[in-house]
């Protein structure tokens, strides 16, 4: 079959624009599979997850997800359905073409009308017998987007142009075959043709273009119109964080909010650093303290409190601590104790990670070895370690090249090879209780093979350099050195971002452990600065916390200004956050004066000290502790729900705490009855406990008028205190942190 015309020339005529090099290396040849056809199948969504790209295909026609397996796809088109799918003798009868054109019923609808350029390419290719792209053909080295970045007015438009760069130095315009998406389609949307349309609101968005296995990102910035160049009065740059935040705010024309009051700062710092409310004495003392450095003194003091270790360990147990029904109770307890101990010692973070990655010994004695008891296969260990410590998600790369990622399956299995020589001795997993002692050791042999090619993989890092490994060395040592190396910027970045997110309610990158070019930080220089500070501070987590808490940005009010109300990612104000399940339960226990008892823990234990999430607690479940049956790392969403509202309102356990004979409400009521305390003192105490601030005169007034309205003799004081306690615990000012 002879081609009357070259479809690529035909195509390029329609697309050629000045500026794109007129260099189509294959222009005189028939279209070939890898180079010409796969981009079309990808562009039109044929091999996407919901369609033929899912593992079982769609209606018997399966393609590899986003074209990661060319052999499979070619065989699927030409080798199946008895030649009906692609028929070079009568191409127009091919199912591939008829379905795509909608001349036959197609679940995906009419994708390519017969007069579409891509249809013509497909047809020509089928007619030519479906040739593969020769090995010698130029390879795609990268794509670029023009413009590289753009400032737009609200509602303005900007077309994007995508250029493919080939290994022989040639370029092709591929805009019509590129796929576009926006990180914030409300701020700036992009249509399938690459036209960016700014919305009416200021903000920023990253527009991503992808073509074959490459992508490029074009940041779009839409500044606020009435650009406020001057920071609000009261703003002061305490450290570098503040100038970097302000730079970004200026760029967007946003103004920072005012400064938090002392009481707000105190409650915030307590909840952020030790996960515990300040006591009335602590509040009163802080408010009367006249020293100018009282805020930094407070942060220093809090960092030395024992609750610090439990609270921050509690965040890390979400990420590390496995399900006891998987690895056994003893191992989990042991791991939990080890994690807490690291935070108690303020262990430098790089050493903490290195210990986990290179751990050896008994799972009943060396807590960190439980990492290897829980995750047993090199693949599982690779994905977990990379997500936790480098902010790189490799779940996708395990099976296919992910369109938004740069890593291939070969990269994945080369990395996994570092975990190929882990030996285990002992009973292993036989949960829940009977799971025996297991010893993690370095095995003398073991290998990882590529799942498709079967090739033996040599250990290699994803990027950068890792120390060479001696034949009988522990491969994990090399891996750990690579992960924790100061040159491995992801290592310090992802932890700096986690700590920032814990203190600021939002990461500079979200999700906090997903760092990649296609998910850019909202403030790159700020993230770089925090990571550098963390590295230079010897990976000291407390130092990093101190640095962030010393910034003016940390001390901003949560109240939005007219000019920053739309901001929810550039830290123009503090973002409200619901208290975490354990913190809230401990706070309820503190305020009511009735501690909670936890199964499997000594009396007097606090929720932030719990070594497992497996014990019963309707309270913790309602407020979103991790699903006890789920594998770590577990992400908490921090949602508010109707079940939470109902639980605070009506839970029998909460009611018991409020009305308990040995509880605070009864004691305070008795103090009134016996004249030891005046009602307004009781109001003050409860406000200090629940809100960390004294009541305003009007608030005291309202509380006292409730007391006056009660008439029942005897029980009057008790009922009043209980009602007030209930009202405070059910109010948003208690549930949220400003």
């Amino acid at each position: 079959m002879i081609q009357a015309f070259s479809p690529l020339v035909w195509l390029s005529l329609a697309l050629l624009v000045p500026g794109a090099e007129n260099a189509l290396p294959n222009s005189s040849k028939a279209p070939t599979f890898e180079r010409d056809i796969q981009p079309i199948l990808t562009r039109h969504g044929c091999n996407a997850g919901p369609c033929h790209g899912k593992a079982r295909g769609q209606n018997g026609f399966a393609l590899s997800l986003f074209a990661y397996d060319h052999d499979f796809d070619h065989a699927s088109i030409f080798g199946q359905a008895r030649g009906r799918r692609a028929n070079p003798e009568s191409p127009d009868e091919s199912l591939l073409l008829r379905k795509a054109a909608g001349s036959m019923a197609h679940g995906g609808g009419r994708k390519l009308p017969t007069d579409h350029a891509d249809y013509q390419v497909l047809r020509a290719w089928v007619a030519a017998g479906g040739p593969r792209t020769p090995e010698s053909a130029p390879k795609l080295s990268k794509i670029t987007v023009n413009p590289e970045r753009r400032l737009l007015e609200p509602k303005a438009s900007q077309p994007l142009q995508v250029t493919a760069h080939w290994s022989d130095g040639s370029t092709t315009e591929v805009t019509s075959l590129a796929l576009f998406s926006s990180s914030e389609s409300v701020i700036a949307a992009v249509d399938p043709k690459g036209m960016v349309k700014a919305g009416p609101l200021p903000g920023e968005a990253a527009i991503m273009a992808r073509y074959m296995d490459q992508f490029a990102v074009c940041p779009i910035l839409i500044p606020q119109k009435s650009s406020a160049k001057q920071a609000k009065s009261g703003w002061q740059a305490n450290n570098r964080i503040d100038s970097l935040v302000l730079n970004k705010l200026n760029e967007l024309g946003l103004e920072p909010s005012g400064t938090a009051s002392d009481a707000m700062f105190l409650r915030r710092a307590h909840l952020d650093i030790i996960g515990t409310l300040p006591t009335p004495i602590e509040v009163e003392a802080f408010l009367v303290d006249q020293s100018t450095n009282k805020r930094s003194k407070l942060v220093d003091t809090l960092l030395t409190r024992p609750e610090y270790a439990d609270f921050w360990a509690n965040k890390w147990t979400d990420l590390l601590r496995p399900n006891p029904y998987h690895v056994g109770i003893k191992a989990v307890m042991n791991y939990d104790a080890w994690i807490r101990d690291q935070f108690r010692q303020n262990r430098p973070y790089d050493q903490f990670v290195r210990d986990i990655l290179t751990s050896k010994g008994s799972t009943f004695e060396d807590g960190s070895t439980v990492f290897y008891r829980n995750r047993r296969e090199p693949e599982e260990l690779t994905t977990m370690a990379c997500q936790l410590f480098l902010g790189i998600r490799l779940d996708c790369a395990k099976c296919h090249h992910h369109p938004f990622e740069v890593y291939s399956q070969a990269d994945f299995f080369s990395l996994a090879a570092y975990f190929s020589r882990i030996g285990r001795k002992g009973v292993g997993i036989s949960a829940p209780i009977s799971g025996g002692e297991e010893t993690i050791l370095v095995a003398s042999s073991g290998s990882v093979n590529h799942p498709i090619t079967g090739k033996l993989m040599q250990p290699a890092p994803l990027y950068g350099k890792a120390p060479e490994v001696a034949p009988d060395a522990d491969l994990r040592e090399s891996f750990a050195t690579w992960v924790t190396s100061p040159e491995n910027l992801n290592f310090s970045k992802v932890m700096a971002n986690r700590v920032w997110a814990e203190l600021m309610s939002r990461g500079i990158v979200e999700p906090v452990d997903d760092l990649r070019a296609t998910n850019p930080p909202t403030n790159g220089p700020l993230l770089d600065h925090l990571a550098e500070t963390f590295r230079q501070g010897g990976y000291d987590i407390k130092k990093l916390i101190r640095h962030i808490c010393a910034s003016h940005t940390y001390a901003l009010e949560s109240k939005p200004e007219e000019n920053n109300r739309l901001d929810n990612r550039n830290f123009a104000r503090h973002y409200r956050q619901r208290l975490r399940a354990e913190v809230l339960l401990d706070a309820v226990s503190d305020i009511t004066g009735v501690p909670e008892t936890f199964q499997g823990m000594p009396p007097g234990s606090r929720a932030i000290q719990a070594w497992t999430v497996r014990f019963e607690s309707q309270f913790l479940d309602a407020f979103g502790r991790p699903d006890p049956n789920q594998d770590p790392p577990c992400e908490r969403l921090g949602q508010t729900t109707v079940v939470q509202a109902l639980h605070l309102m009506n839970s029998p356990n909460l009611e018991r705490k409020i009305s308990e004979e040995k509880g605070r409400a009864k004691a305070l009521a008795d103090a009134i009855t016996t004249g030891k305390k005046q009602p307004d003192q009781v109001v003050r105490e409860l406000y200090l406990r629940a809100y960390g601030r004294p009541p305003l005169p009007a608030e005291t007034e309202k509380c006292l008028s409730q007391l006056d309205s009660l008439t029942k003799k005897g029980l009057k004081n008790r009922e009043w205190v209980e009602d007030m306690m209930w009202a405070l615990l059910n109010s948003p000012e208690f549930v949220f942190k400003d």
């Binding site: 919901p50 409300v186 029904y325 497996r614 729900t641 109707v642 009506n650 009602d723 059910n730």
Partner: protein, 442 residues
Amino acid sequence: MASHKRAPFHGPSRRDSLQLGLTALLGGGLATALRATDAIEVNRPAVAKACILIWMDGGPTHYETFDPKPDAPAEYRGEFKTVATTTPGVFFSEHMKKLAAQFGKLSVIRSIRHDQGNHGAGNHYMMTGAPPRIPVGCGAFVSFHPSMGSVVSHELGAPPGVPPYFSMSGMARSGGPNFLGESHAPFVVDGDPNNPNFRVRDVQLPSGMVSLRHERRASFRRQIDTYRRDLDKAVADPAVALDQHYNQAADLMQSESAQAAFDLTREPLRVRELYGRNAFGQRALLARRLVEAGVPFITINDGGWDHHSKLFEALNKRLPAWDQTVAALITDLDQRGMLDSTLVIALGEFGRTPQVNKDGGRDHWSNAMSVLWAGGKTPGGQVIGSTDKKGFSAFERVLSPENFASTIYRKLGINPDKLLYSPNGRPNLIVSDPNPIRELMG
């Protein structure tokens, strides 16, 4: 209650709320954009509005329930005789008398099989429609995928203030929400509803609290609440979201019809007797009342079906009452005109071994299991599939847990082929094989 407009149950998540403000102003947004890519979604109208899942934890025997083998040698057949159903030639095991007598209202699948022969994994497979991703042990409680109840909560919601997914008592091992988050976790109701002092926790006032005082407290709260709200949607103030939930909760407390739904004592004694005066019976009755209140998914988590020993002794005691409760539930739903819109399904994680063991019990066996299915316009009187002559394995019309889960979703008007996105953006099909069991679809 049932006529209430369904509200999306979940509040905005932290991540949602970042999107929420702008999205609310303009419509669309990332979530919508992502969903819009589900190009081939096929939505079919719902047949049923609710599902009552009777979970027989431990794995009930298929021989002594719905798949007796009277002609097999004694060591397989067991001790029980059979009872004829209303369909000629179809027999149940002898204790399923009442269900046999109303076989016209229900169907039995005898040929679901899978390869997960331990509790942790079997529970996960049947409760979520997805096999566990890694091998798990028998004692395991694992979650790799949202449970059916959580997906239904996510997709259908419930009337304002009503939790959409109940589990009584306790949560089934894999009954959790996984990546769907705490908004779609089961609302666990503990306690024995046969106990005269029983209250459904949190949706009713706690014991000892009278409504007058509760109202006084609510008014106290209103008066002292000076917390700033940023009503501007763009700010995405989570306190505003909490207010919505709080108001829904308050409405629920004040709604007489809702409060009545949770109150089993309003049920005539005759009906309570009919269901059986035991915890299981009264949970089934409460489940019916919850369906009336608009709850779309209720799991009755009924333990103790792991009969490794003394199976016949145990089942002689247990099955008649079980038969009575399930038959009463189906009859009652039918008489109230609710059966066509309510699915009733009974199963466990797997069937049990063909040969009675030396302790007079049967062990785990995932090669065959029987599932009872009624309601939601499911054609009655039919047996779907079969096991071989000795009950070793699903033999004809072999079906998978995926087919099973997809049937439930289809009946409830949820497309099992839909993608749900985890918070980190990873797409997950609700069920990997969206083909329902056609005989049940009607």
